[in-house]
């Protein structure tokens, strides 16, 4: 008896305390939370609901519940498999590509004196340029036939006959990947460069006295110390790479034979070309689950305890 009233008292005081805390934070928290709930969280649950129905866009139309039918369909659809393959390949190629090249540029930049800022600015320009615009540029650069710029140089400098870049699966994927890497290098560079500033100089000096070479210092000091930065880069690039969409839409629109389709472009087609909203939503939910799962698993490979997911 005694105990339970005590517990009650404790819990009620805890509630009071919580309420007090909420009262304090609410003016600051509310605007963001409100917007988030309305336009991000609500659509999320709305999509979840749609994914279990045969959704009709007309207001007030019937939306029969179909259970897991849309999910079952996604697992048996050959095109989902193909888009999944291309999305994963895009991640596997562009995430390491951006990281390696971006880090390389950052290390180079960190080692030179004059002109650092100029180079840094120039390398960053693709990052802030609109995806649509750069996709259009790449499509035009890799135009087939002898008049395309890349083909022209390939012929002039290397003697390679004009390639139909966008008309073959792997060359088209290559173009999409190149764009992804090209656009992201600058961002990796800036973040890593900033990370480099935080490494105490004294460590390098000590290593140098011990006779460690440049790459020794890079692999034994810089990388281990900057693991949190690497993880930050990795997670952001990974999430970004799963969202590959506009470049595919603009450059190949999934062709040839639908073999460059990625998850989002296929989803888009299902929803807005074929009106299969239920099916598209099911794909969206599955994809979200996949990304969250991958992020959690890869966390282990980085010994970073900082990520409080």
């Amino acid at each position: 008896m005694q105990k339970s009233t005590n517990r009650k008292r404790v819990s009620s005081s805890r509630i009071q305390k919580g309420a007090q805390q909420w009262k304090e934070v609410i003016p600051y928290l509310l605007p963001g939370l409100f917007l988030f709930a309305l336009f991000v969280l609500f659509p999320f649950f709305f999509n979840l609901y749609i994914s279990f129905s045969e959704y009709n866009i007309m207001p007030g139309a019937e939306k029969p519940f179909v259970g897991f039918a849309n999910y079952v369909k996604a697992f048996t659809d050959r095109k989902v498999g193909l888009s999944f393959r291309n999305t994963v390949l895009y991640s596997l190629v562009t995430v390491p590509g951006q990281m390696v090249l971006g880090i390389l540029v950052a290390v180079f930049l960190n080692s030179i004196g004059r002109g650092k800022i100029l180079f840094r600015t120039l390398y960053y320009i693709p990052v802030i340029t609109s995806w649509i615009v750069v996709s259009l540029i790449f499509r035009y650069l890799f135009e087939s036939g002898k008049a395309g710029l890349i083909n022209y140089f390939a012929l002039r400098l290397l003697g390679i006959k004009p390639i139909s870049w966008l008309q073959n699966t792997w060359t088209a994927n290559f173009v999409i990947w190149s764009l992804g890497i090209w656009k992201g290098i600058g961002w990796v560079m800036v973040v890593f460069l900033a990370g480099l500033q935080s490494v105490p100089k004294i460590l390098y000096e000590a290593a140098e006295i011990d006779g460690a070479g440049f790459w020794d210092r890079f692999f034994k000091i810089t990388l281990p110390l900057l693991q949190p930065v690497l993880f930050f880069l990795f997670v952001n690039l990974l999430i970004g790479s799963f969202n590959v969409f506009i470049q595919v839409l603009v450059i190949t629109d999934g062709g040839p034979l639908g073999t460059t389709e990625v998850l989002l472009s296929y989803m888009y087609k299902n929803a807005f070309s074929f009106f299969e909203f239920g099916y598209a939503s099911a794909q969206s939910v599955l994809m979200g689950i996949a990304i969250v799962a991958i992020t959690f698993t890869t966390r282990r490979f980085f010994r970073a305890e900082v990520y409080e997911l």
């Binding site: 991000v40 659509p43 999509n47 615009v133 750069v134 790449f138 710029l149 290098i185 969250v292 409080e308």
Partner: protein, 278 residues
């Protein structure tokens, strides 16, 4: 970590220079095409340095499809959404960095997970909401969408910076009887300028480039924004690439200018040291 050897340094410069050339060729090509006349057919050999630059494309672009109007619309929308996002994101990040309240980490986790789920299909439910508030075809509606879809990332990004600001700095204000708002206004904001500047350019360029939402939610022709105008130059049949790229250039030059002018301010060492400690 620096190279003593001068010849090594020279090689580094050379490598960086070659990298920049390769890196910027696409832009150069875009400029060249924009300065070429009659671009429905690709010129052969390709032109990288137009001998007689033709500025007609820019004149056509600016005068056709209300382009000037759309440009100003975009300026307005990008500026105001940057301001709105600034207010929402800083207060939100402040509450996660400096307050204790039940459910805090759970809400934050929701923020993080929402960043991973693709938002492509949200457009339909978002439309339902905006319609419910009678905000279709208003900039207010678009502003709400832009700031709400960005709030998760921005909170996540800023929280790290706010948390590394030493708490001791607030003590004196507290002793003087300063409120939470005083701390927010006079400690948090001024001490995280680089992060805020970074965020500002992110939000600015995000809404400057945004296409799908603007196209869907804006119904009046005269309220349209720049990315829509660029798309109008891509015809169903026979695109004139000179016009498309001239329009694109007009669209990206402001962003690049703002970036170059303010870049010293926002790419700083503090950037990641804070961001990785979330």
């Amino acid at each position: 970590m620096s190279f003593r050897n001068n010849s090594v340094k020279l090689i580094l410069y050379l490598a960086l220079f070659v990298g920049v050339v390769v890196f910027l060729t696409p832009f150069l090509y875009m400029v060249a095409v924009a300065l070429t006349r009659a671009t429905r057919i690709m010129p052969y050999p390709p032109i990288l340095f137009p001998r007689n630059p033709y500025f007609g494309n820019f004149a056509v672009v600016w005068s056709r499809n209300n382009f000037g109007r759309y440009f100003l619309n975009s300026v307005f929308l990008a500026c105001s959404s940057t301001i709105v996002s600034f207010l929402v994101a800083t207060t939100s990040a402040y509450s996660f960095a400096r307050f204790q309240f039940p459910g805090k980490e759970m809400i934050f986790r929701f923020f993080l997970i929402s960043m991973m789920v693709p938002g492509l299909l949200n457009i339909v439910p978002q439309f339902v909401m905006i319609k419910f508030f009678r905000l279709v075809n208003t900039y207010t509606g678009l502003l709400l969408l832009y700031s709400s879809t960005g709030v998760a990332f921005q909170t996540f990004f800023l929280r790290g910076f706010f948390e590394i600001i030493p708490r001791e700095m607030e003590e004196s204000i507290r002793l003087d009887g300063g409120s939470r708002f005083t701390i927010y206004r006079y400690i948090m904001l001024p001490l995280s300028t680089p992060a805020l500047a970074t965020l500002a350019i992110f939000t600015f360029s995000a809404s400057w480039d945004e296409f799908f939402l603007a196209l869907t939610f804006i119904k009046s022709e005269w309220k349209r924004t720049l990315p829509i105008a660029i798309r109008l130059f891509q015809q169903q049949y026979g695109t004139e690439w000179g016009l498309v790229f001239a329009a694109s250039l007009i669209a990206i030059i402001p962003i690049i200018t703002i970036f170059v002018v303010f870049q010293k301010r926002f790419i700083r060492g503090e950037l990641t040291t804070g961001a990785v400690k979330f």
